[in-house]
């Protein structure tokens, strides 16, 4: 299957071994990021200076898949790097910083950053990082995304679908027909045009839509054109429905014949999930068993048997973990993976710990005392180490600053309180 193997190649190549360049003047962050990248199996190179990074990028243009860079750096900041790098190479750049003010983020995006990460960074962000590289390569090669419900000949519809699917949020819909290198893209396009017309796979959901449409229209009024309209499935052509309708009619005819002759032996239209309303079949049908669709008299075109077999094979593949379904599995997992691996501290997420605001002063007395007895601050310990309600606050004689930090810290310590009791 030429399509499947090239998609496989893309899908399995990607999360592994993407080459990341990390630029950050902060050695702690750099080490942290390096560790995560190693755990995710990325190839990581690091720089502490933008100038160094620029040189590296210019030297080895084809050796970097993705760049991760901090905005605020002393010699050359992330913006300048972005500006210069985007002129030279076309690599997805993710900008990161502790500072996530609107201005900072907007400017980064304006300069061409494909994402903005707020520090402190989390493992799950890195886990998904490769999607940026994938998206770019799909766009580059102008991949025709193809549903298993569509067919190639319907070029217009699949192009439209392609646009919808360019946002890499939807899971199982993107089917890649070529891979990242442009040379192979040409080859596969060649292959595509000379390939047999791919079969529509009538999965249970689709089939039930079909059955409902037929029922609604009435079996004798059910013409393919009207069924297509009724089903309203993008990419489904009249021809697809016509052939399926023919099979369905045959199946119904057989069913009624069976009932007439009153045999217990049911041969049914086998679908992986049961067609609604039919009884459970006794036997397990094998893949290659043509009797799955009922015994075929030899006069019945062999082509249609072959077609059914092939579509059954498609179905089986889809269910039993071909790349398509495993992609959807991967992505579902990624989407549902808990960003905070620790459930009990989850409430911390989203409070102002990570915001760029000042905390409010409240231990004013002690600090004012310390300022009076100049330099004696060290003798005054603002924090009772054994205290049970530690609220970090500072009084530096500053005017009103945001009060959000205080209340959130209250709640956060409460949370810690409750959950940590178990440990005692």
């Amino acid at each position: 299957m030429a399509q499947v193997s090239s998609f496989e190649k893309v899908q399995y190549q990607f999360p592994e071994k993407i080459r990341v360049l990390v630029v950050d003047n902060n050695p702690t962050d750099l080490d942290f990021i390096k560790q995560i990248c190693n755990l995710c199996n990325y190839e990581v190179s690091t720089c502490t200076e933008s100038t160094q990074a620029l040189n590296l990028v210019l030297e080895r243009k084809d050796c970097i898949d993705l760049i991760l860079i901090e905005v605020h750096m002393p010699t050359m900041n992330g913006y300048e790097f972005l500006y210069r790098a985007s002129k030279e190479i076309d690599v997805p750049v993710i900008v990161m910083s502790l500072d996530h003010s609107n201005y900072t983020v907007t400017r980064a995006v304006q300069l061409g950053a494909c994402d903005f990460w707020v520090k402190p960074l989390r493992y799950y962000q890195f886990k998904n990082m490769w999607t940026h590289v994938l998206r770019k390569s799909l766009k580059e090669n102008n991949i025709q995304t193809k549903d298993y419900v569509g067919s190639l000949e319907d070029g217009e519809r699949s192009r439209k679908r392609g646009k919808d699917n360019s946002e890499f949020g939807s899971s199982s819909v993107v089917r890649d027909q070529s891979n990242s290198s442009s040379k192979e893209a040409e080859e596969s396009k060649h292959r595509v045009s000379s390939m047999k017309k791919p079969r529509v796979v009538w999965i249970a959901e689709l089939h039930s839509k079909f059955v409902n449409a037929v029922k609604k229209l009435g079996l004798h009024q059910a013409v393919p054109k009207r069924i297509v309209e009724e089903m309203n499935v993008p990419g489904l052509t009249r021809e697809n429905v016509a052939s399926h309708l023919q099979k369905y009619r045959d199946y119904l005819k057989r069913k009624s014949e069976m009932k007439e002759t009153q045999t217990q032996e049911h041969t049914e239209m086998q679908l992986p999930n049961m067609v609604p309303g039919t009884t459970e079949s006794r036997s397990i049908r094998t893949l290659a068993d043509p009797s799955v669709y009922g015994a075929q008299p030899p006069s019945n075109a062999n082509v249609s048997v072959g077609a059914m077999q092939q579509s059954l094979i498609h179905q089986q593949m889809m269910i039993s973990g071909n790349p398509a379904s495993s992609v959807s599995r991967n992505i579902d997992y990624a989407q549902s993976s808990n960003p905070n691996p620790l459930g009990f501290l989850q409430i911390h997420d989203g409070n102002t710990l990570n915001q760029y605001t000042a905390t409010e002063a409240s231990i004013s007395q002690q600090l004012q005392n310390s300022s009076l007895t100049s330099g004696a601050a060290s003798s005054v310990s603002p924090y009772a180490y054994g205290s049970t309600s530690p609220i970090l606050s500072l009084s530096l004689g500053l005017p009103n600053t945001s009060a959000t930090g205080l209340s959130n810290q209250n709640s956060s310590t409460d949370v810690v309180d409750n959950t940590k009791n178990e440990d005692h």
Partner: protein
């Protein structure tokens, strides 16, 4: 008896961690760090933290040097140092240190020298406390690793 010492030490470690969380000295980012440690990188946490200590002490020295200047006026430079300190502290999960940095930064933005001085002292204080506690934590961790590896001789 096997590993009982290790269990006790593990309990000690958890108690200390719980205490530090309770105090707000550390936050869940520190736990994220611990999660990144595995068999292939068994000393990751202490490695990163040591880098952090090294860097932080440099930054603190720079900050103090700037503030002690007679003709001090380079608030912007202090802000840059502080940003870095803030960034690394938040990556480590050093919550209290980070919060002091935030207040310190506010003082620099107002060109408030006295406020900066006070903030610096508090920062140094906070940082020392963190360092001591983390050293303690690593010590317990080390002892625990040793104890867990000890095999008691079979008593006849």
């Amino acid at each position: 008896m096997l590993g009982l010492g290790a269990d006790l030490l593990w309990a000690d470690m958890n108690r200390l961690l719980a205490f530090l969380f309770h105090q707000g000295v550390l936050d869940e980012q520190f736990l994220q760090l611990q999660q990144l440690q595995d068999e292939t990188s068994p000393n990751f946490v202490s490695e990163v933290v040591n880098i952090y200590f090294h860097e932080s002490e440099k930054l603190l020295r720079n900050l103090r040097a700037l503030l002690m200047e007679k003709e001090f006026s380079d608030y912007k430079k202090m802000g840059i140092h502080l940003n870095q300190f803030m960034g690394s502290s938040s990556s480590i999960g050093a919550k209290r240190v980070r919060n002091v940095c935030v207040a310190f930064r506010a003082a620099t933005e107002q060109n408030n020298r006295a406020g900066c001085l006070r903030a610096l002292e508090m920062l140094e204080h906070e940082y020392c406390y963190l360092k001591n506690k983390l050293h303690e934590l690593f010590q317990i961790e080390q002892q625990r690793a040793l104890a867990a590896g000890v095999r008691y001789p079979v008593q006849n």
